[in-house]
Subunit: 204 residues, 2 copies
């Protein structure tokens, strides 16, 4: 028997999601398949096209009435931040209320912020889109220099590649340090394990 | 008009391809959409499932009779290395003969090696599967310590994450240094731009 339970992880996908925001963390979690069971969730059935043109087929839709232990919200051009999207907003609020952990990469935190889910929390986002995203969460304590920010059930990362460092930190929290280091080794990934490491904050 | 032409890039996908082997490099190339036009190519139509369970829809199949400027061959459990696969082998030989550049990530170089495409060339591969892959290419000069190896038209990278560093090196060669640095900045990626940097060689 595994030392820690297997957690269900729902990764939200939408047209225009940033490719590596999604697949970087999924590589890390997926390497520990006995610990994390990944489901790609979209608003409706039918394939979704990434920011770079790859068609991906969701495993589930909002209407499936499933609950997940963890959520992963990528960012990218298609992130539905600017305008309310009742189905997305409803799913996010409902799932976040019961999820053990809610993770976002890049501008994905803007979607959480617009829905008030990060109110009173510390959070970060993409450095080149920082001010724009921060505008959607006036009651969020936005952290300008961070590879990722952990605050309660929320892990929010900086842009794109930062999602992989955050995913390993989530593995450290939910499984243990050894497991996170093992995944980094298997994927030959140079893990930046310091949440305060952020050379990209100078882009602000 | 762009300073350099747009190149067509065919990324081979098969059941069990390693998720980040494919999507890491595609994030980098895809960020320069005016320079690289990405096509996912599979043996046959219908979705392909990654090593971590994500279903991806190919844009083209072997029978489409298209030629591409660049090939990207990921690795992973499903890489058809051990046994001859006439359709895959034929496509690879035909495309490699005319492509300007042939790239592989992780155990993807084993597929090139088994088909004799790397004979007389320097190449590398995943460090945990190094000896196994090297066995498929007795006439290849395998390099045990390298993040990636560039030799003529071939770029072969080490495991998984190394594909992103290699992709940026390919962007440097085909476009220029400034473009590679810009992609790294946009994706907040800490580019290891030294091909000899390889802390994972100690896993051998």
């Amino acid at each position: 028997m595994p030392e820690t339970p297997q957690r269900s992880l729902a990764a939200l996908i939408f047209n225009g999601f940033e490719t590596l925001d999604l697949f970087g963390p999924l590589e890390m979690f997926g390497t520990l398949e006995d610990r994390f069971a990944i489901t790609l969730v979209a608003e409706t059935a039918g394939s979704v096209v990434s920011r770079h043109g790859q068609s991906v087929v969701p495993d589930a839709t909002f209407s499936d009435d499933e609950r997940y232990d963890m959520l992963l919200i990528p960012g990218g051009r298609g992130t539905p931040i600017e305008n309310a999207r009742p189905l997305v907003d409803g799913w996010l609020a409902e799932q976040s209320a019961t999820a053990e952990l809610v993770l976002s990469v890049c501008t994905g935190s803007g979607l959480l912020a617009r829905n008030g889910l990060l109110d009173g929390h510390r959070a970060t986002t993409n450095k080149m889109a920082f001010d724009w995203v921060a505008g959607f969460g006036p009651n969020v304590e936005w952290v300008p220099k961070a590879r990722w920010v952990e605050d309660g059930k929320f892990f929010t990362s900086s842009g794109v590649s930062a999602g992989m460092d955050m995913a390993l930190a989530v593995i450290e929290r939910t499984v243990d340090r050894t497991a996170a280091e093992r995944v980094a080794k298997i994927t030959e990934y140079d893990w930046h394990d310091d949440a305060d490491w952020d050379p990209f904050s100078k882009l602000l």
